[in-house]
Amino acid sequence: MAELSGAPAWFASACLIAIVLSLVMTVIRLLRGPTLPDRVVSLDLVAYQAVAFMLVYAVLTGQPAFLDVSLVLALVAFLGTVAFARYIEHLSVAEEEAAPMSD
């Protein structure tokens, strides 16, 4: 579990920078995103990118405890996405039940 050094450490740092650039692009979509599903999709991807960042960081620092953190984060992100999906779908069903039947 030694810390990386030399060329592998440079490659891992480059991977971290690339993941952070991707995270910035996703956050731009999260802030701009015209509708609610856009924001939910980008929030889901933000969680995945945090998981990938922690995996690369675990390689770089040699601390496998980040693997446990990423496992828990993947679990929580799935639950959050499912909750948002239920909420969005409930909007449509509630609107249909409130309106009178047309046909």
Binding site: M1, P8, F11, A12, C15, A18, I19, L21, S22, L23, V24, M25, T26, I28, R29, P34, T35, L36, P37, D38, V40, V41, S42, D44, L45, Y48, Q49, V51, A52, L55, V56, A58, V59, G62, P64, L67, D68, S70, L71, A74, L75, F78, T81, V82, F84, A85, R86, I88, E89, L91, S92, V93, E95, E96, D103
Partner: protein, 134 residues
Amino acid sequence: MVAQQVVGIFLMSTGTLFVFVAGLGVLRLPDVYMRLHASTKAGTLGVALNAAGLVVFYPDLGIFTRASALVLFLLLTAPVAAHMIGRASYFAREELGVTVWGGTVVDRMLDHRGKALFSTEAVEETSDSSGAVS
């Protein structure tokens, strides 16, 4: 040791490339459903390749087990979450104002109100086959 590090760096770089492509697709694609496609598939593959790179760097039974659990869980839950989001944004698209890309040509699903995703006047010659293809 050197071969192990080369394989690990290769896996991690490929995974990072896929994660980057996922972020780029979420930013640049024109449609909710296309963004969902980019986010789910490329993001899952990128995280799985990063976990494989971690296992190659530190070959240990505990790390292998936890990384396998992470990848297995991701492969189980990412399609479910993407399906639920896509289905919800299809059904509630009028309430939320979701629009589709202008070049979309086919919609094989009708919602519970019997409405297609976009108007069917543009492709009138195929509209009498089943009702779902528009």
